[in-house]
Amino acid sequence: MTITVNPPVAATAPAYGEQDLLRRSASSVPAPGRQLEAVSKLIDVSKCIGCKACQSACLEWNNLKEEIGVNTGTYQNPHDLTPNTWTLMKFTEWVNPQTDNLEWLIRKDGCMHCADPGCLKACPSPGAIVQYTNGIVDFDREKCIGCGYCVKGCPFNIPRISNVTHKAYKCSLCSDRVAVGQGPACAKACPTKAIVFGTKEQMKAHADKRIADLKSRGFDKAGLYDPPGVGGTHVMYVLHHADQPSLYAGLPDNPRISPIVEAWKGVTKYAGFAVIGLAAAFGFVHHLVAGPNKVTEHDEEEAARLTEGRSP
């Protein structure tokens, strides 16, 4: 679980790297020699007090600066994820029809690190997005071309393209910290331990305890958000209303890669090459069979006769 002790001062070699890639955008990778243990972040919305320590820690660790925004009457600031805000507290006011209570639902939004990553599958640039065998989906800005295909591929509306650098940005699950045995900055900063980090198995077990506790307090629909439509995620939520994820600032109920994106990245490629190839093959075969369509001497004579004596 989240490592709270301070890291050693001496440089630590990263525990994983290129050799641990499960997927690499627009390229194939050799089967990894080993399987890292799957990691996960668990966000318990019922314990979150909306203090935004995680949001600040994220800016701090990743050396990001957000512009000073405007207040539109909610605590949400900025109003949406940006190239600099990789995680954002989203606030929803909801009147529970069963209890007539006003509930203040606070959800930490950010990359879910899908096991089936739509961004990676949409990306046309080799190696701009990678997925490690521990489940982390990471962007490599050196290789990003700024096309915005990842934005179209993502079922959670997470990646943002900077208008300054023209590169894509999102939460890295602090892959640089995880590689040296640390938990993500947000988890470390959270004062209520609403954010915890560890192996996916540990996190599921921890969630089970939290869900049992919530159910004992009358939240009988409490549950874990680990959506199967994207193969499960390496950022999971404990929700008190797990039957209605969309209550939480539009968290998708059944996220999956859009069928349009799948058609674009799948059948279109094969069909495209087939159609273009067939057209070229037709031309080739036709030329072999029919030969060039040549103007004959007779044609030239006919033309000359038609115009005879009438040329200027």
Binding site: G148, N157, N163, H166, W264, V275, N293, E300
Partner: protein, 229 residues
Amino acid sequence: MSDAIRPAPETPEPRVTVRRYSALTRINHWTLAGSFVLLTLSGMALFHPSLFWLSTFFGGGPTLRWLHPVFGCVLIVAWLFMFLRFAWANLPERTDWVWMTKVRDVLSGREENLPEVGKYNAGQKLVFWSFALLVPALFLTGLVIWDQYFYDWTTIPQKRVAVLAHALLAIGMITVWIVHAYAAIWVQGTIQAMTRGYVTGGWAWRHHRKWLRDLVSGRKRTPPATPAE
């Protein structure tokens, strides 16, 4: 008789050449063709990972991503002029249907079995109208996914549809282009119409006899194809 027809200087025989495209039209055509080729090469680099290496010819991925829609703007302007110049000459005629039903004769080059053709045959008209529709469709879908300047204009679900449509339209456009380019190679003597601007009398007699007759008689069955002529 139209002054487009004149004796061919380089042959001793009494031969004629026929002017087909003015210099302006040819510049227009090759601007269109050049931007199309650049669009195809840069687009295909993004279309499939196996073609990403094409990006090296465009200064790398980020520059290619920026350049492609800029070429697109050149294409749409060239297309607009081309469309205004040629739409008239490509209006369908009754004989086009006859021409199209005789595919076998067309493909085997037995033009004696086909109706006499004006400036454009039905196949050329089909290519023209395909391009006439495909280019603006590619331009519009391209705008929707041109995130650098127009990200806020559309929603992500709309962009998904647009990027799929853009890829499909590009495939259609490349396929029509293969037909267009192959036809120009197969029917010998055609390419010089767009490079040097004129064809031989025999070419006009064989492939576009009605056009030649109209030029000879000075009759204008179709409005002038190019305002510049």
